[in-house]
């Protein structure tokens, strides 16, 4: 590329030594760098699509975070095996978010430094709300795959956030409607995790109990990470409820269940939310109660068996609901990019807001509610499966109902806009 110009116009006819070295050096440098130039130009045509994934990997939600990463990884690997999206490779950057402060830092870093096209993930409501604020400020689409807070779909909702994960109202309405229809359980005692998620869940489960005409006989806030529940159990026992309603999360839920069984499980239990992975860890003997599930690997729906066997081949265990959510979240985002031929957050948001129907490995198709960006989808009611009937150690639940029933609209389990008002705001 570099041509040594003849300096002959001045009639000297030869290069000075110094000039020669300078030019030769420049030529060498150009020759050396040119292959890099070529590859740089090639890569420009193939700048990978970048997804920023954020989730707690340690602490009391770490177990779920592990499944989130597995689900997300599989979705990206499958997309790349099919030749990428828009002719581009899909890259994913994983970040650990042990608490809300770090979550904000990591979300900001993913957008500003790693230049990701979208954010996805999070499980803790406290961290999730904080990440949602970052997404709004930096104008990036954020797909929530793991936190339930109604506030995030209500007073603190914003245009940039979409929710694959169910909201607390969906969980409690699903299980509450079932409990009142099938059994006479009107006096409830609440045990609630003492942080954003639990408070939110307590509010909506109380509202539900009022709507259903039941009464509250007791309620305690429990600090997260409590190792010993014996004192709480004594208290519940003394109050004699028809039903103990748990608004706990993560490992706390399973620790509680073990100890509840230890005290003879004196009353029926139902829970506001349930993550199957946690219950795999409790041991079958400790399982009790009626629970809502966002997804379970034994539901009968097209594509589920195939997804489960792909996941098992890759990771050695079936996917839980968290793995499903992160897998689904990434699939939805990539689908939107393909449909809009763009990675621009504003375009993707407009696409989702038009309400296209998606196949999400459930028996009915889902869409995002245009007023609060919640994925409208069926939920499931599960009870422990008899050990004799179980196929393997992962097969712990009997799916006893899909809610809302097939004759009802899927929006039945969502709150109404007046129950949980949300101002999405502008782009």
């Amino acid at each position: 590329m570099a041509v040594i110009k003849r300096q002959g116009s001045e009639g000297k006819g030869k290069l000075t030594r110094r000039e020669f070295l300078r030019r030769a050096g420049a030529a060498g440098a150009m020759a050396l760098t040119s292959p890099f130039w070529f590859s740089y130009i090639r890569a420009l045509g193939e700048v990978p699509i970048k997804i920023g994934h954020i989730t707690p990997r340690t602490g009391f939600l770490g177990m779920l975070g592990d499944f989130a990463v597995k689900g997300a990884t599989l979705a990206v690997e499958e997309a790349n095996a099919r030749g990428g999206v828009l002719g581009r490779r899909v890259d994913i950057v994983f970040e650990d978010s042990p608490n809300p402060g770090v979550a904000v830092e990591k979300a900001t870093k993913l957008i500003e430094r790693d230049r990701v096209d979208v954010l996805i993930g999070e499980i803790s409501s406290a961290s999730g709300l904080a990440v949602a604020d970052v997404a709004k400020r930096l104008r990036k689409l954020y797909m929530n795959t793991g936190w339930n807070s109604d506030e995030g779909r209500g007073v603190r909702c914003n245009r940039y956030v979409f929710h694959v994960e169910g909201m607390n109202t969906m969980y409690t309405k699903a299980v509450g409607r079932y409990l009142f229809r099938k059994r006479e359980m009107r006096a409830w005692y609440f045990l609630t995790a003492d942080y954003a998620f639990g408070h939110d869940l307590l509010r909506v489960s109380r509202r539900l109990l009022r709507q259903l005409g039941g009464r509250e006989v007791g309620s305690d806030l429990v600090p997260t990470g409590t190792p010993d529940y014996s004192s709480y159990i004594l208290k519940v026992r003394a109050a004699r409820p028809d039903l103990l309603f748990l608004n706990l999360a993560g490992v706390d839920q399973t620790t509680f269940m073990k100890q509840w069984r230890e005290f003879g499980a004196p009353f029926p239990v139902a829970g506001g939310v349930m993550d199957t992975a946690q219950f795999w860890a409790v041991g079958r003997e400790a399982l009790t109660g009626v629970w809502p599930a966002l997804w379970y690997h034994k539901i009968k729906a097209p594509g589920v068996a195939d997804f489960v066997s792909r996941f098992r081949r890759r990771w050695g265990s079936p996917p839980d609901n968290q793995a499903w959510a992160d897998y689904t979240g990434i699939k939805l985002v990539l689908r939107a990019m393909e449909e809009t031929k763009s990675t621009d957050s504003a375009k993707l948001i407009e696409f989702f807001e038009k309400g296209p129907r998606f196949d999400i490995l459930k028996e009915r198709r889902a869409w995002f509610a245009n007023w609060n960006h919640q994925l409208v989808q069926p939920m499931y009611i599960v009870v422990p499966k008899e050990p004799a009937k179980a196929e393997d150690k992962w097969d712990i639940w009997e799916v006893i109902a899909s809610v809302p029933g097939l004759e009802e609209s899927l929006v039945e389990i969502l709150p109404t806009p007046s129950e949980n008002p949300c101002e999405l705001g502008s782009l």
Binding site: G62, D66, D194, S230, K235, E262, Q278, A281, G283
Partner: protein, 294 residues
């Protein structure tokens, strides 16, 4: 809120005692290492988790009761290897160094457990023979927790006898208070410190085994527990055998009563107690004046 009756209050006080025994078991190992070697062992929670994981492996092949004995021994052997190869070099140096070492060890152990056994918790059931409950009048109480109470009392008695009544115990106590004099008497102290670290680690391991059926087994299980153990040691004070025992029982009672009366502060209640004790008795409840730490 259930009606506050005398029967309920008695139940809470009795249960608080059992919870307290759990806290005592948690803290004993930390207190022994702290009090006798002067090392603040930040890997205490990690050793506790190691004990639980060892019990998980052993109990699948041998059953719970052999695991109850073997797991603390394995943890002790590992800990003594750490003492001989690493920790020993730091006794005479800046205390910060042993803090850093044990802090690092805690992280390494937690991540190793995660690598080997996975991030998910492992199922660990109460052994068949200890399932179910014992009835006190109308009120059933968990059989396993009564077992915990008995193990706690036995372990405390055994440790007290060993430290206070045997010649080995005397050497340990003398060696920690006046190492120079003990050396002049012709006793090598290096193996004594190794043994003390081993005993403390075994206690952490034992607490891990005992709590595995109650709280489950997962890589991060040691983190929260480590904090509680520190609180108990600080309340109890150093240099006294009975300090952590009394402090553990007190913490159990206060946490239990706060659950009854005002649960949102149950977690904070032990820190409140600690602050109060530190205000009134800066050396802890039974802490003695000790030249080394003044």
């Amino acid at each position: 809120m259930p009606e506050l009756s005398l029967s309920l209050l008695i139940q809470f006080i009795a249960n608080g005692f059992v919870v307290g025994m759990y806290y005592t078991l948690l803290a004993l190992g930390l207190s022994i290492i702290f009090g006798l070697i002067g090392v603040i062992n930040l890997a205490h929670g990690a050793l506790y988790a190691l004990g639980a994981y060892a019990a998980y492996v052993f109990s699948r092949h041998l059953g719970f009761f052999p695991a109850l004995v073997l797991s603390p021994l394995i943890v002790a052997v590992l800990a003594m290897a750490i003492e001989v190869t690493m920790l020993r070099r730091l006794y005479l140096k800046d205390p910060l160094l042993s803090l850093l070492l044990t802090f690092g060890l805690a992280m390494v152990v937690e991540q190793l457990l995660r690598m080997i056994f996975g991030a998910a918790g492992l199922p660990f059931d109460i052994p068949q023979r200890l399932q179910g409950f014992v009835r006190f009048g109308m009120l059933p109480y968990s059989r396993y927790r009564l077992f915990l109470l008995i193990v706690g009392i036995l372990v405390i008695a055994l440790l007290w006898w060993f430290l206070e009544r045997t010649p080995y115990g005397r050497i340990i106590r003398a060696g920690t208070r006046d190492p120079e004099m003990v050396r002049i008497l012709g006793i090598r102290l290096a193996p004594v410190f190794t043994a003390v670290f081993g005993i403390g680690a075994a206690m952490a391991g034992l607490a891990g085994v005992i709590s595995a059926p109650l709280a489950g087994v997962e890589p991060a299980m040691g983190t929260a527990v480590g904090t509680a153990a520190f609180v108990v040691v600080v309340i109890g004070g150093m240099g006294s055998f009975w300090g952590p025992v009394i402090a553990g029982l007190l913490v159990g009672e206060i946490v239990s009563l706060f659950v009854l009366l005002y649960p949102p502060a149950a977690d904070a209640s032990m820190f409140l107690l600690m602050a109060l004790v530190l205000l009134l008795r800066p050396r802890g409840l039974l802490g003695e004046r000790w030249e080394k730490f003044e």
